[in-house]
Amino acid sequence: MQEISLNILDLAQNSISAGAIVIKITIGENTALDTLTVSITDNGKGMSPLQLQSVIDPFYTTRATRKVGLGIPFFKMAAELTGGRFEIASTYGVGTELSGVFIRSHIDRMPLGDINATIITLIQCNPQLDFIYRHSFDERDFTLDTREVRKILEGVSLDEYEVIVFLKEYLSDGEKELINAN
């Protein structure tokens, strides 16, 4: 994985497989603290304390096709390589929350990459699920909440091409505002 946004796309799949119907993806960039924090919270079926311990083991997976589950171990390693940390908490029957803190200026901190492409891909492939994407950069903030989008669309599916094109532009405008200082 060359970009944090690809890790996020990958980790969100876990939330989807866990049956989550609302997935919150939050990215916080803080130049004063020199951190980039990524957290993913879901209301899927959660994990038992034993599963929670196993999930950072690359040789633990719930799927039958392969003997490795690399998504979480990769993400954890990526954060720790920068001197950051990884945390994961879960309650069986309620949901899971994970977060990775990256030291932003560290030479081994991989780029965030095309996060908008990740969000759009998630919405495109899972139009029936809700995603709350929030990206903050110091005091500036941008949010896309598909629940609001759904309300306005009144039954029109979120994966309709025109809706996706609109959301792509909405995300792109939002990102430009975030990055442009003043």
């Binding site: 990740t118 891909t121 091409y161």
Partner: protein, 123 residues
């Protein structure tokens, strides 16, 4: 600066269009592998290319969705095409260029691109 209220226009336009997609039994399903292996190998741009091309050609009977690990990680990105009444076609080592060819030959014209399939790769 876009604002969400503009979606209302899109909604009104979509509501007026007859939505044939859901009602047909002859819907073709396109599954793009999106597990760690697929994503690391480049599935995200392949999916985007498929969405764009399918829309460009107005192929209304096609649904694109993601799938998990199929167990052939060394062949990722993988795209599976499921047509009712026919065998599943598994395309491997996909790229955005190959995706365009699959849409034009297979999805638009019903001709499987044999050289991109897993059968051809395994030889």
């Amino acid at each position: 600066m876009k604002n969400l209220a503009e979606l209302a226009e899109i909604r009104d336009r979509m509501k007026n269009k007859v939505n044939i997609r859901e009602t047909n039994g002859d819907n073709i399903r396109v599954l793009v592998g999106m597990a760690t292996c697929g994503i690391a190998a480049g599935a995200r741009p392949v999916l985007n290319a498929l969405v764009e091309e399918i829309n460009k050609r107005s192929l209304s009977n096609v649904t694109i969705t993601q799938t998990g690990c199929i167990g052939i990680c060394q062949y990722e990105p993988v795209v599976e095409i499921i047509e009712p009444g026919k065998d599943k076609t598994t395309y491997v080592n996909m790229t955005t260029e190959k995706a365009l060819r699959v849409v034009s030959d297979h999805l638009a014209n019903g001709r499987i691109v044999n050289e991109f399939t897993i059968g051809a790769a395994a030889k």
